[in-house]
Amino acid sequence: MASSTHQTSRGLPWLLSLPALALFLALLAIPLVLTAILSFNAFDGMRGIQQSYGFGNYLEILLDGYYREIFLRTGGMALAVTLICIVLGVPETLILAKMKPVWRGTFFVVILGPLLISVVVRTLGWSVLLGSQGVVNTVLRGLGLVDEPIRLLFSMTGVIIVLTHVFLPFMVIAVWSAMQRLDGQIEHAARSLGAGPFTTFRRIMLPQLMPGILSGAIIVFALAASAYATPAIIGGRRVKVVATTLYDEFFNSLNWPLGAAIAVLLLLANILIIVGCNRLVERRFKQVFA
């Protein structure tokens, strides 16, 4: 690619990028900076946003057990979703890889297609499935697995199930991309040298798929930790996460500076996790990428 690039006309690339850059600076960078400034504003319950600045909002979030619990709960939820996506997504991608091209194409659409369908629509489907009179409870009771309907709607379990459904495609995409770099013969080599299927998976396939699994895990974790619509609909008031708390601060408590501080912390946590994990992946798996 380097050989096919222009070396002439230095200003041209910036001229070409100018419209996008101007749009992003004016309407992305400035709003984010304004939000960061707002997060340092003091707030008074009676008089609203004050013109004095300080770390008060951040201290309140870090020291108040209420907010700390919400952040921890959100992190735990995102971690659970990530782990389930790994457990379901990695085997499924291996299965897809072994399918005949026609079937593989079909099931790619089945598994990845829902990404293009509104998350509100997918969540609505789950709220019908998970209700106490819903399909899942009817089936479980029909099979005699439970006596009483189990609470799935308005519970953390329900939120985790639905978020897994929403974000699983990202894991499949990441693992599939990693698999494209693999040599297909290596599995055959291991098996013909006498390794069992489990050993082959653990010693040969898994280490090579690890970069893909980790990058999928980063994406799923980041998206799950900041998801709004699904926890709001499936979790309701019972399961408060960072994103729904953020909404409440802005539209119910009307404490915008505190809400802005929560937003800044969520963004920082997001960037730290994405950048940090990417560094780790690159360093540990350099030999795989090379």
């Binding site: 690619m1 990028s17 992305l28 709003p31 939000t35 659409v109 489907g125 019908v128």
Partner: protein, 269 residues
């Protein structure tokens, strides 16, 4: 050792695959089935079938106006995103310059910033600028969130090209502009068009950020659906959702014909 062919899926793998497929499709199938119920409440299984909840959509003018708003918003923001992303993609794909990686990261950053954070930032910005309730402002911020999709697919199209035809045109005396319009643009058009469609879908589906900035006059269809779902159990939401599922499937078919759906979704050439 058994002589079983290891390049095939065993019965256990196929059972796993079948269960996972059911897990993926269940909520979508259920929405479509429930929309045909004649009951006042959302239930599965049901006994009577009717198209009642499709007729009821006509009695909900706010859903219809939200639908049209989402369509116009998607058209405008996807078009704006494409207009700014295509030249930027050409710059990034064809030139080496200082700040290239930074520019790329900046233009892809809406994928990394949580949409709740974007919603908060735009809410604050709109209230300072007194843009609250403006359709144009909504188009601008939607365009920002969908630029990465247009940029990614255009980049893939440009990077995959041989430059021979363009070089030939230039050496035969075609200006840079003519070479772009007559040679390059037709070649990258499928990628650009697929980027536009993906950008449209993403704008049309966006809910989290839009909830923060939508006003009664600028309520998009996903926000209107969200509001209905979180307030009451209303079977109209299932008939609208069914139409959205079928509409998205039509779009997926178009995308598949244009560049191949796997390429759009996985982002590989």
């Amino acid at each position: 050792m058994s002589g079983r062919d290891i390049s095939r899926n065993g019965p256990l793998a196929l059972i796993f695959h079948a269960l996972l497929t059911v897990f993926i499709l269940a909520p979508l199938v259920v929405v479509m089935l429930v929309s045909l119920s004649d009951k006042e409440y959302l239930s599965m299984p049901f006994d009577g079938m009717s198209l009642r909840w499709y007729r009821e959509i006509l009695a909900a003018p706010e859903l219809i106006s939200a639908f049209w708003l989402s369509i116009w918003l998607g058209l405008a923001s996807a078009t704006l995103a494409t207009i700014v992303a295509v030249p930027a993609a050409l710059a990034i794909a064809r030139h080496r310059f200082f700040g290239r990686d930074g520019l790329m990261a900046f233009l892809m950053s809406p994928l990394m910033i949580p949409h709740v954070v974007l919603g908060v930032a735009f809410l604050r910005f709109f209230s300072i600028m007194e843009w609250t309730g403006s359709f144009v402002a909504l188009v601008l911020v939607h365009a920002i969130t969908v630029v990465p999709y247009s940029l990614r697919l255009t980049l893939a199209a440009v990077i995959g090209l041989e430059r021979d035809a363009e070089t030939a045109a230039r050496s035969l005396g075609a200006s840079r502009a003519v070479a772009f319009r007559r040679i390059l643009l037709p070649l990258i058009l499928p990628g650009v068009a697929a980027g536009w469609v993906l950008a449209f879908i993403q704008s049309f589906d966006e809910v989290t950020m839009t909830i923060f900035v939508a006003t009664p006059g600028t309520t998009t269809l996903p926000v209107a659906l969200y509001n209905r779902i979180s307030q009451l159990t209303d079977p109209v939401t299932t008939s609208v959702s069914t139409i959205l599922i079928l509409g998205t499937m039509a779009f997926m078919f178009i995308l598949d014909r244009m560049v191949g759906l796997d390429r759009v979704l996985i982002g590989k050439k």
